[in-house]
Amino acid sequence: MKIGKTMLMELKNSWKGFVLFILVVVLLVGGFAHAYPSFSEAFEDELEGSENVDVKMLKEDKEVNVTLNWKEIDNAENYSILVGKSPNMMVALERVDGIERPPHDYNLSYDEDGEIPKRYFAVVAVRAEGERELVGIETNFERTTAFQEIWGVDYGDIQGFLSLLWSTWWVLLIGLYIGYISVNVITKDYEEDRMDVILSKPISRRQYILEKFMVVSLYTLSVLVIIGLVLIGSVYSVGELNSVSSSALIISTLLSWPVFLVIISVSVLAGIYLESSRKAVGVSFIFILIQYGINMVGDLTEGLEYLKTYTIINYWDYESALYGETVGALDVIFLLVLSALLVVSALVIFERKDIPV
């Protein structure tokens, strides 16, 4: 009969701060998606004149035969080809001058590992008066950005761009706020001297904790639903909704909910045990920052990827959701079970606890 009244009271007490938070997040997320077009252009990062040069490779036993073709330039007397490891031809490895016209064959030895070396080929037209003009630069490999190499995804597409959102400040922004309010829904009842009266009414301690947990969980879910919808709207407004489906956006957003449920559980547990907002918020924030830090180290450090399996963030598979619209059920179940265990621990502690004056 009385189920939900503590939740409702908590909602009445804290909705203003929550609405303000949602507004901030909506502005940030909406703004983030609108940064995609210019971000995408920056990532296109095409080599100058690459459309004028064509590189074909023919693998042979000892060497790779590279055939270069290019668009001829009017008044060109001949052409030079520079071969380098980077687009900066100031440090070219080789230079071949006096090529009358395309195509030009170039032999490339395999490297020590038996792999085809990655090379940049610059074609330069030389005019009669000695004036030089770049025809174009092209590679014998598919170029990746530094981001792609580190994170393993292509940030040039909208999915990759959103992955950047999820993998960077998202967990910190939402996690720290959710951790803060999860602690406060408990500790404020201690600190503002209302726990005695609330628990003197015919409500079990179990129900009290579960309702507090549920109110923050629902807050979080509503933030995620709103963010999902804002993402759909903003991705649509930048004309990319044909590249990623609405359901992929919603699923990838909502899949972070179990991660936040664990954060809520840890924070509620800290609040119950420590009885002080300051101390419990400290514990909650340290937990989130450590999770975030370990996940970052695992992402960025070769050989330490295994560390990520010790963080809850690792079990939020937003990439599969964004690219394949799939849900890693085991990941979700793991996080839900972990959260449930933490809530049960909170219940056990609270049931046996002296309520402080």
Binding site: N13, D193, V197, D354
Partner: protein, 300 residues
């Protein structure tokens, strides 16, 4: 008291680590009475109340309220018990009406008429935000919430704390009305005049141990009366070596003593002397209380 026992406490002990909050307490609160729980700060009053309500885990002992176990059946007990804590607090940003409606509904009551009636009676504006209220008005919110669900037992920790004298009188009036309706009230206080005014019985606690539980009238009776006599001439103090006369003091021609029995013998002895002035005074509860404390034990 012939009435049924509403609250039966046996051997209740609560320790905070090595510190004893309450030790081996035996106490009965009877149906329809107002029992005042007296003691100085830190004596164990709040610990007792909060342990009985299950807010603190008892170390040992047994508490039965309405015949129900305070731990196993705590929800049923709380359904029938109103409580005003010593430090009452609520949501500062919410209106009093919202807060009271919530607390009332938590007690399973939907009719808000009594809540409104009590608020009007205590001159409490329920449309104001709780956080904007004065200390006295916050205490009124606490009083309203304790009484509004019309429960059988009301437990209160310092109910008139922060109230002005007029409101204190209204509170006493309310307590007497509840008693008249057959409600049982267990209240702690350190305001002795208040206990004397509204309580039927008093339990005095000192250093976590119960010292005495008595009806106020019979406690006063046991404690005797203070007799002051001014003689015309000096008298021989041995004149008052009578059983039942204690704390005899002679200051010039003025004698003071506490007479617990054999008052007739004292009167007979002094009638042989010339008396200028004489007064026989019953102890106030305050004097009784101070006597208990100055004697450092069970009033002996």
């Amino acid at each position: 008291m012939e009435n049924e026992v509403v609250m039966r406490i046996r051997g209740l002990t609560k320790k905070y680590g090595d510190v004893v909050g309450i030790k081996d307490l035996d106490l009965d609160v009877h149906e329809g009475e107002i029992l005042g729980f007296l003691g100085p700060n830190g004596a164990g009053k709040t610990t007792t109340i909060r342990t009985c309500l299950g807010l603190l885990q008892k170390t040992s002992g047994d508490v039965k309220i309405f015949g129900l176990d305070s731990h196993e059946d705590s929800i049923e007990i709380r359904r029938r018990t109103g409580y005003l804590p010593g430090d009452f607090g609520m949501y500062p940003d919410l209106k009093v009406k919202t807060i009271l409606s919530y607390l009332l509904s938590q007690s399973g009551v939907s009719d808000e008429s009594r809540m409104k009636e009590l608020s009007e009676r205590l001159e409490l504006d329920i449309n104001r935000k709780y956080g904007n209220l004065s200390k006295g008005n916050k205490q009124k919110v606490g009083l309203v919430q304790a009484f509004m669900a019309d429960q059988d037992l009301i437990i209160m920790d310092e109910p008139t704390s922060g109230l002005d004298p007029l409101m204190q009188q209204k509170c006493y009036e309310l307590l007497r009305e509840e008693k008249a309706k057959g409600k049982t009230i267990f209240m702690s206080s350190h305001i002795l005049a208040e206990v004397e005014e509204v309580c039927d019985r008093v339990a005095i606690i000192r250093n976590a141990e119960l010292q005495v539980v008595e009806e106020i009238g019979s406690l006063k009776e046991k404690m005797g009366k203070k007799l002051e006599i001014e003689f015309e001439n000096s008298v021989d103090p041995s004149l008052f070596s009578i059983e039942g006369v204690d704390d005899f003091e002679m200051d010039g021609r003025k004698a003071t003593m506490i007479v617990t029995s054999n008052l007739d013998q004292v009167i007979k002895k002094i009638s042989q002397q010339n008396i200028i002035n004489m007064s026989l005074e019953t102890f106030s509860l305050e004097q009784l209380f101070l006597t208990y404390y100055s004697r450092g034990g069970k009033g002996e």
